[in-house]
């Protein structure tokens, strides 16, 4: 094969690889992702579908329940709340008033968190506000 043809073939292979990667990326990411919602938006949640809930933990609402905990989550700016249960690793900064991200499903009006998916945002280290 003359070099020109070789180069063309290589180019096609590389482009093909890139194309496969790109389609794979797009397809799997939209499938595997969880929609991000705040508590007030979970009213019409599809049962069994996984969501990524963000919100603030309502102060004083954290109680221990069995092997895990139960607490209320409120919208970041708003008043919609939803009760949530969770078992698994509780991050160090977790406490009332903090902003959290939790992956899970909605069952009977309660947000059931997936194990080990609770993320608590570090309180603003750059903000002027005090902790509480």
């Amino acid at each position: 094969m003359d070099p020109q043809k070789k180069r063309q073939i290589r180019l096609f292979v590389a482009l093909g690889f890139a194309l496969v990667l790109a389609t794979g990326l797009v397809y799997t990411s939209f499938n595997a992702s969880s929609e991000a919602r705040q508590p007030s938006e979970l009213g019409d949640a599809v049962p069994g579908k996984s969501y990524e809930m963000t919100g603030n933990v309502v102060r004083g609402s954290i109680v221990e329940q069995g092997e895990g905990i139960r607490f209320e989550v409120r919208d970041r700016e708003g008043s919609g709340t939803i009760p949530a249960t969770y078992s698994g690793v509780v991050p160090d900064p977790f406490r009332g008033g903090r902003e959290i991200v939790l992956k899970g499903t909605v069952e009977n009006g309660i947000f059931v968190g997936e194990r080990d998916t609770l993320v608590t945002k570090c309180p603003s280290k750059f903000s002027e506000k005090q902790n509480q």
């Binding site: 406490r95 080990d116 993320v119 280290k125």
Partner: protein
Amino acid sequence: MVAALIGTRGDRRWVDAARRSTYSLFALLLVCVVAIEYAFLTSDFSLSVVANHSSRETSLFYKFTAMWSSQEGSLLLWAFILSLVASVSLFFTRKKLRDVVPWATAIMLGVGVFFTSLMLFGGGVNPFDTLSPVPENGVGLNPLLLHPMMIIHPPMLYVGYVSLTVPFAFAIGALITRRVDAAWIKSTRGFALVAWTFLTIGVILGARWSYTELGWGGYWAWDPVENASIMPWLITTAYIHSIMVQEKRGMLKVWNVSLIVASFTLALLGTFLVRSGVLQSIHAFGDSTVGPYFLGLIILVLVGSTALIISRLPLLRSQKRIDSMASREAVFLINNLLLVGMCVLVFWGTFFPLISELFTGTESVLAAPWFDRYTTPLAVALVLFTGIGPLLAWRRISWQGIKRVFPIPTAASAIAVVLLLVFTDAADSFWALAVFVLAAFTFVALAQETWRGAAARRSSAGGSIPGSIVAVATRNRRRYGGYIVHLGFVVLLVGVAASSSFETKRDVTLNPGESVKVEDYTLTYEQPTVKRDGQAVVFGAEVSVEKEGRRFATLEPTRRYYQRTSGTKTIAGYFEGEATSEVGLRAGVRKDFWVSIEPDTNEIRQRSQVADERFGAYMRARVLPVVQRDPSQAGALAQQLVAVQGLATDQIISDYVNPKTATAATFRVIVSPMVTWIWIGAIITILGALFALWPARTSRRRKAS
């Protein structure tokens, strides 16, 4: 900066002046940094940055490091490091790259202008902002940051990010002056390698901190800010390889300058992500005013660079091509595709919430499993080519050559497969098995290379075997430095594969005296521990671990609860401040035993609240009237109250260790294999980079006949 721009016309005096102004910038910023640190060390709370991030009780070490935990301080650090690396790079190139240096200086100083004006005009981020009235005591440092590792990790990462400015500036300069030539390659490669080394250190330290400090037992979570640090790393790694192809074949010029632009942009993006509220992350420290400015800079850099590259395309085209796919150049190309592909993947996943919002209107998030699933094959492919690369020759290798170099490593990997399948359960995880097998291939390939190289030298120059190895390595620093780096990298990936695929994780609640068995370890909750330590109460457990009947370790995982930093300090206030975990870790060459604790503090909390109420009542009924009648007594009374409060706290928390009131605690136990190899691999990698960077004494040049 102005001087540098004028200097581009050719008048050396302006260029020298520009260089001197860079040195002066460094000196001035040094003064700033020293001044701020002095303020921290002397607890000068008239500066708002000191008041917000330090306190009288903070220990000296953390007072020093608190400077860069703040927004203003970290901007100052950025600018300071920039002036340092710019000065160093200009010093080493003061007689070189005549046409490029003025532009490079201008760009580096331009970025410096950005950061200094941000501090001056950005709104609330001036490190020298003052508070009035001066507060009595500061807020203190966030307890999560009170860890030695956390405190070197940001500066190291910063040095990595910032030092990417240098190759970027020199690349833009070279493009503008149309001098993308061998001399440019030589200096830029050095800069990129230095930046790469610091980035590697920064990323690894972050991972290690996460593993040893946080209560989840992992070292990488694909958190947006973590990703922001690994993306420039991937691109810079790709660049270090593809620049060698440009050096030898004169091709890939456009690709290389694009890589540099991309890495610098990603570094800026990383710095930006931490400061804005754009993505949900455990690191994202809230919205701040400087976010939009960074975005502006990033866009400017991207648009400007792209326009410049396009305008110089005719210059950058090359006629040469690679000879054959069975050559080292081809492997480098594949490696580039893999690395850039991985970066694209990570980028896509990190920004997916924004992308999905753009296209579907709903914000969707991708979690760690997605990242793991798709980066793993790419990483495994990288290991494969890390093994093949050293075996191939430049330009092309003949079939006979292949027959000479491939058999031994291939045999080794075949043996490895058999051994692994027979003696371990490695087959349970396909990818881990693939990594192990390819790692065996790579180790043997590298060993073979080293052996044959040393043998060749020995046959011509004599000497012992170790001596020959050292001699051949030091004469071919680039090659053998690269081999060491690859060795370290593969060791690291072996550690990652083993620890992520074969770890055992158990969450269990135990009462004092109870035990649990995890793999072949038996953990016994011996007794609870509690103490008051400065601003925190520490609850923990003494835990003994036995393996096969013999005492293996005694660990003490604890949780520290810090007193809250605002409002009156009450006993219950300990549970309203920050909490950190101290993990019990027994690391080993083969396995790590890791345990963290979540104590049951409910009763203690309740009792604290009752005590606080009684305290409050006492204060109102008895103490306040006294103070109102005679304010001068306030100080003495306050001291007494603090002492009494301390005693009460000690009394209450001692209930935790009282056998009659002891409660169960929840433990997380993780046994993971080969985690230590990750750190060992990282150290080897860094040593290899240093070896490659070490200036070789100028060898006597052999003139071609």
